[in-house]
Symmetry: D2
């Protein structure tokens, strides 16, 4: 008998679901007790239903687990549910679960625009977790919903926050080169991406223009106030397996030297609220001094895929500065990010 | 006996040199009479010295031609020399040739910053060719030098010119995803680009920030006056064989609707100076209405690789508009562009 | 008014269907008068229903053509139907069309094993077309069915035939590295093939072991007698857009030198039956003497994608010889191959 | 003060040298005390001279180490030298080191054909290590030389040995699809491999035809007797970063069922000589039952990149059986393989 918190993974067989399973396999605080899938897989064992895509082997614990229907009623033992659901299904299932007393840590976009649901990035806005109490009071939920941002937002919001705290960001134009794993499986057809670039990802640019301002906003105990800065985004798909690379030009209110900005990145520290969370990387932000870094294949797996990488911070001839950021889209940007959110939740609500 | 103008290709065995050879194979106005290479290939036949990289077969005419030393003295019969030389060698050889009475159409960067040498893009600034007379008068050259821009500048300067003529561009932030062929051969190591992005190309951003303002500048009969608009560039290498894709956010002096801008692109016409040049595409600018175009593999070869492709023109939440441009970097952006320059020269100076 | 033969394309919007449309656009003998698609596209214009995948633009003639249901009854004007149908649908529709008096040139596998249906590769077995008369007599069809082989069989059967005619092939072990376009669209997921090899293609090895023996078999006026030689196949998918590369080790009954075998390949000539067919390449077999050729990206488009390429013919330390073959899988290996079959048919049955 | 054996890495900055450095970083038995490089890097610190290519960070211990000249005289403290030298330099330096009392574990091909130098693959022929005594007696060396095979030989020789022990392999035709990392850095140009296959690797096929017979040969205390079986090889380069995939058709003397062969693979056990060596994987051979495995990206890193993977064992219509094998070419096939050899050496000669 252990003291682990019982958790579930919703949509456990998809590409983000697999990352959840893999990262939760030996988690010191959480134990996966329930997994769900879409109708055609319900009742099958995980190993029968899942086309496993990760370079690590499928964990033993999950092979024989039976897939349950994707509905709140399936979650009889879970205190926390990790959601890798598509947005439309998340709309219903996450709400039902929150009402039923479960805390949902969601990778879906369904509730990111809900004013009482935080988009939580622990390095950036750990205090937003306290809005869970407002959810319970105003919505009458016995549990709650926490979301993590779109995987591309994650890729630049941490460095931007570190800079914003000292220099106040006013405007940022961001250009992404996103990995194919961000589109799930089967996702992007090889005929569309081999020897090619797709300069369009449906719905993505809107997310990058909305989410950072909410994440970087202030929580006053009742509401989150959007940060007033503006983002304009260009999103592209490239032939990379994992990790999104993002170029930014940005304007600051307070001026500072290149060295001062790099220092703001390198000296960025985790909030005391986060100390000791098991899935936090040793460093939140890694600044690369080589002229041509960060790069997806070489940097994505450093610090277990949980760090934000930055390089090429230099003046911009139009805005103040330019830089390149990179992070692992299915670890830091999806399952891994949700798990840190849940660890912060476990500390806040479950006494860990 | 024909009436073709005798031409040479300097550095004929490299990747741009091969494009020159291929495009000049059946040219109606030009006949390749001399080809040069670096020391280790001098004296060899072209087919012995050249590691042919193009998907079309090596033209028959060039197989047995003997490679000459790369120096002006080798060019005994040429009226025009196409230069695919590296910048440092171009510095000397192109100058010597110009003094010796040869017109050099150069793909090298060596003279792009020379105030009396034009960076010629026929769709954008055909009148700049008249500065050749100033070269002869002020520098005492009997021939002259014309350059074409960096292949990435070419990728967006034509659409930007079309928009500028009606709406005056003030600032543009550009972000490139460039093909590996832009780095020559062997160029980019496969270990560096497979499943990867390289967010840095040495010296490239400076070129993109300087060249458009010169191309789009006004020639007053004596000097070229830089266009006052500003560019800030982010350049990246991606796993694409040919064609550079570029995202831009830009600010206009005169405001106009999306439809008005698309109309400016689609109704853009060649100057009368260019009518009938053999290598001009039917259309200078192709606007793609599909949400996810242009794309390198699908669009680069349309109009024989000589068109400028544009798509996704839409408002920018920070500047006025955003768009995506694309063009073939070794055809339109290098050898093909130089050949059109030479055709304009042939009309101007050789009565074609 | 023209004298072209009216033809249709069945499954015109898929990847092979698009190749048919593209190659038939300016065909001197054929005019596309009817096109079909699956239910969800019926009634739409081609340009509305088709996700065009080719690097050439969609031909003008087809843009506004309306898609008909995929059934024989739709073919009211066609004398010849080109079929890009999946095998299960082909089973019914091709049979109905043959009964109704249409000649079907099929890329599907449905009838390849039918003893009275030829697998026709004009370079190898043009006389097999005469079995159409046996079809009509024995099956009572007013039209007929001709198939072309699997695109990988096509890749090596022409060179093997050239060698077999002089040296009698007894056994061949073949290893393929196949392009993603062979799996159609969306086909192979990019997550499955980027930085990867898939050493399995369902049902493919069986085809490579059956088809060559039928193609290379003798037609005695009534039946095709399988060639007695044996094939063992290993099939693999690699990250190449177009063209299948195949390595073979093979054993001969009559021994010959490397030079004699290369000579058999290079001196291979088309049958007189084929002289003047519009889509035949100038050369059937191209032997590459460079040590590292043929290669997909550099050789697939030579001779309009219609040639068979061979290289590296050398002794095998176990069988007699080894070699590498390559051909374009969606041109020579699919639509282009079917069109040459139809041209031979047009000559035989329609007096062209 | 520790009891580790002092070791050196020759050619420590190249791609295999980097793998040695990475794998030796926390090795329980070995401590890197000397590193060498080519002339232009001598005297520099490792971090200054090395273009680090691995996805793990450069180990701290090596960053400040100074690079020594690549000659035996540099090795003043090493008992064992790991060699990642090119063959021509290895010829001299490895010999000098062996004479000087150092045991060289070499990844180079220079001495693989020397009758007294073993090609050691611990899973296959651990007893061959005893030929070191013969080297010392007959050549007068105070140290010795052990080689590991070409990385592609490694990819199939372990499974073939497992099958040979029970069923006696007589002939095998092998076909490789090799990763770009096998060619070092910069190695394969991206222009040569993107959207392409190179069906030729210089000198590789000869190695695959010689090495397995020596590895699988019998050592009688004085000489190694080549195994009489024959190999014919086809080698190809494909767009994969790491891991070589190999298809084989092979003939057996003793017949056995598919199940019996799979059982021979799965029940294959390490020799008692190897028990407890720190870098041995838990399993020597992993048999994959999925129809489409093993695959490079998904399987190469299992068991720390040190296992041999097999799949698709099935009858061959010409020889007895066919199968697919895969192993990591720069870990198991190069540095990792050499390190296990050195561990066996450490046990034999250094009392570990």
């Amino acid at each position: 008998m252990n003291n682990k918190i019982p958790v579930s993974v919703l949509a456990a067989t998809g590409s983000v679901g697999q990352r959840f399973i893999s990262l939760l396999a030996d988690h010191p605080w959480f134990e996966v007790v329930e997994i769900t899938a879409s109708d055609r897989s319900v009742g099958l064992r995980y190993e029968e239903a899942c086309h496993w895509l990760l370079p690590q082997p499928m964990p033993e614990f999950v092979r024989k687990m039976v897939l349950l229907p994707t509905e709140a009623a399936s979650l009889k033992k879970s205190a926390i549910a990790f959601s890798a659901l598509p947005a439309d299904i998340a709309k219903t299932v996450e709400l039902d679960a929150a009402k039923a007393g479960i805390y949902v840590c969601s990778n879906a976009s369904a509730y990111r625009k809900d004013p009482l649901v935080p988009i939580l990035v622990p390095e950036a806005n750990p205090d937003h977790i306290r809005i869970l109490d407002v959810q319970q009071k105003e919505y009458g939920w016995r549990g709650g919903i926490i979301t993590n941002p779109n995987c591309t937002t994650t890729g630049f919001v941490v460095p931007l926050t570190a800079i914003d705290r000292k220099f106040s960001v006013e405007r940022a134009i961001v250009f992404s080169m996103q990995a194919i794993s961000g589109a799930g499986y089967p996702g992007v057809a090889s005929m569309d991406i081999l020897d090619n670039v797709i300069p369009y990802i449906g719905g993505e640019e809107e997310k990058l223009e909305f989410e950072p301002a909410k994440i970087m906003g202030k929580f006053d105990g009742a509401r989150i106030h959007q940060h007033p800065f503006k983002v304009s985004a260009h999103t592209n798909r490239v032939a990379v397996v994992d990790a999104h690379t993002i170029c930014l030009s940005f304007e600051l209110k307070e001026k500072g030297s290149v060295d001062a900005l790099i220092d703001a990145l390198e000296s960025f520290e985790f909030s005391d609220l986060l100390k000791g969370l098991p899935s936090l990387p040793e460093k939140a932000i890694v600044y690369h001094r080589e002229a041509n870094r960060p790069q997806p294949r070489f940097d994505r797996n450093l610090y277990h895929g949980m760090a934000s990488h930055v390089g090429r911070l230099r003046p911009c001839s139009i805005f103040d500065y330019r830089m390149v950021t990179l992070s692992h889209n299915t670890i830091k940007g999806a399952a891994g990010g949700s798990i840190v959110n849940a660890e912060l939740l476990a500390r806040t609500k479950f006494g860990k």
